[in-house]
Symmetry: C2
Subunit: 386 residues, 2 copies
């Protein structure tokens, strides 16, 4: 129900046969089929998939509005060249016709394997049913229709004082800062101008989705959208921005807990860097380091690997100013080990959610990322094409 | 025998008790205990270990010569602060006294776990025996004494027309461009000026050691040395440079085949980049991408992941100009799949050594790296402190 919690939106989801069994298509539309302001952020990967190129073109042409978004999972329509671009157009046109919206206001998303053409027969056959099932109750089916290797649907709703905000996401692998292989669809019934909406979404994505680093890989298909139906009129913009931020934070946490092969989520704070940008670079270097990730999997507080990753991040770093704490317990100061309650650190490291602070001792720069451990489950999931 | 194959060098190796069972110390010295020109390259990690700081200071003070190098494995003496620096000095001074060389001409190397002080009692107890065993026959013992998680010793010898060149290395994890956690000791009996020797070593390391990328991690302790005893007089400098390059290539291949948890070695060429630097950046991004590495482990020619990694490398990239070939067989052209002999690709991917070419189709920039797959063995080796 989440993506249809806000007034003015309907949705649906079903099994079209792209995947073997589970739901693999979703449709989100405005209740009256009219376009509404739509903020969007996309992957920064230059190997962007045809649906991303399609959506960028649509939003550039119509000034940033959308009446509906059609989604398929199981096949990313990426690495498919010109035929893939034509397929994205046909998928959008068919969904627009079936749902009764203008083709120029229809967005398209795909997620799944790369390098294989979409099974267009299955998609075109399913689209009329998908449109026919659009309803206020269809949010949960839509949330299932966008999943790939996700094990659970990921939804959230926040009630503001004068608006409702809801959303659904998918994503569990190929996730590195900048939203790799994740799709997010947020809706609100507040009336907000497109520019304001875009600023709110971009800012929230930067502080939430873009801090999640599952595997350092940036996807070809990442897209996040925020649509505002306006049904309940103007709202306090700061309140909405705060709500969007909290909703994205909640959805990011849900994705982290469902990351491919994960056994541990690590909130990694880097403080004391020369600047926020350097703190982000250090946090990224640490969170993507396989030796660090393996130590997290093994619940091993091997702080030396964290400083080794920070020391090779291309930032200002001085060994004798660096310290590391696990669960609030300092284990290294001035780049060297110190006496500490090893049993308490071990106990903390065995948790599913771990907190680590790396203090570079140089300045006021700070950043936080959510890192994921690297265990056998990740390899099992990614060593053969699913 | 490798490191003592060239005239004028003696070596030894033994078990000091730092590791449970295997050899864990080595000593390399000139036969007459006099200093000779010594080229050196070190880790670029700012979290460099005390022995690296010690060696940099020694070579800066004495103008780039060395009479001996003492090595321990099992403990990197990294992340050990001021006490670690003092330990490196004591280890060097003790070895210099026992071997009969000036303390200012003694280099020190350590490799192993980070963040724990050296067991100095064991090291100081073993040093007199280590010095007493120095001999022309001690090369093989020395090659064992420098190993950490390596499963085999790594040695090579090249006979030049007027000189002999030999060497030993260790390294199998925490290896990314720029030589992480590897130690290399090369010797020759040619007479070469220090500046020429340095240029030869730096160039060879850049084209060999620095192209090996096991896990994207840069170590705290990397060091490579080339000593020239001069016993057999001047040589053809170009011939020596070529021999050093080929020797380093051989040793790099030995390290790749012994990489932690490896089942597959991938020679990855990126061509058609806008510049050599952009080709290197793309090759690094691909070789470090866990989704790519998992596909190599699974013998899965999932070319889309390679282009996705290249597309997020921050370089010039155009989907419709990009192509990928496995074992010389093109599987993708213009960013889209093409018909190909799938059985032949599958057969190639099952080999232990795989060749992949990614052509960006933009310019003349090219680079090659040696990448390693990511399988359960790597995680097993690195999830708990050994």
């Amino acid at each position: 129900m989440s993506v249809t919690a806000a007034e003015g939106f309907v949705a649906s989801g079903l099994h079209a046969g792209i995947k073997a069994r589970r739901h693999d298509m979703a449709l989100l539309a405005t209740e009256d089929r009219r376009p509404v302001p739509c903020a969007a952020v996309f992957t920064q990967n230059k190997f962007a998939a045809p649906p991303v190129e399609h959506d960028r073109a649509v939003l550039a042409a119509n000034g940033g509005v959308a009446a509906a978004i059609v989604v398929n999972s199981g096949n990313a329509n990426a690495g498919t060249g010109k035929p893939g671009r034509a397929d994205a157009e046909r998928m959008g046109a068919a969904a627009a016709k079936a749902a009764g919206v203008a083709a120029g206001d229809m967005l398209v998303c795909s997620t799944g394997i790369i390098g294989t053409l979409l099974p267009m027969d299955k998609i075109l056959t399913a689209i009329p049913s998908l449109a026919g099932q659009l309803s206020r109750d269809g949010g949960s089916d839509a949330a299932l229709g966008i999943l790939t290797t996700d094990s659970v649907a990921k939804e959230a709703v926040i009630e503001g004082s004068t608006f409702t905000l809801g959303g659904m996401v998918k994503g569990c692998g190929m996730i590195a800062p900048n939203m790799a292989t994740m799709l997010a669809f947020l809706t609100t019934d507040a009336a907000v101008e497109r520019d304001v909406l875009q600023r709110i979404l971009a800012d929230a994505a930067d502080r939430t989705f873009n801090t999640l680093n599952v595997d350092g890989a940036t996807s070809t298909n990442d897209s996040a959208f925020l649509l505002a139906s306006g049904r309940r009129g103007p709202c306090d913009v700061d309140e909405l921005a705060d709500a969007v931020h909290r909703l994205c934070e909640d959805l990011t946490h849900q994705m982290a807990l469902d990351a491919e092969g994960m056994t541990k989520l690590v909130r990694l704070k880097v403080v004391g860097a020369a600047s926020d940008a350097e703190a982000r670079a250090a946090a990224k270097s640490i969170a993507e380091n396989n030796l660090v990730k393996c130590s997290w999997y093994g619940s091993d507080p091997y702080w030396g690997r964290l400083l080794a990753a920070a020391g090779s991040a291309g930032i200002a770093f001085e060994t004798e100013r660096s310290s590391v704490a696990y669960g609030g317990i300092p284990v290294a100061l001035a780049g060297a080990p110190i006496d500490h309650d090893a049993a308490a650190v071990t106990e903390h490291m065995k948790r599913k959610e771990v907190d680590i602070i790396v203090d570079l001792g140089l300045g006021a720069g700070a950043a936080q990322v959510i890192g994921i451990d690297l265990g056998p489950g990740y390899i099992k999931e990614n060593s053969v094409t699913s």
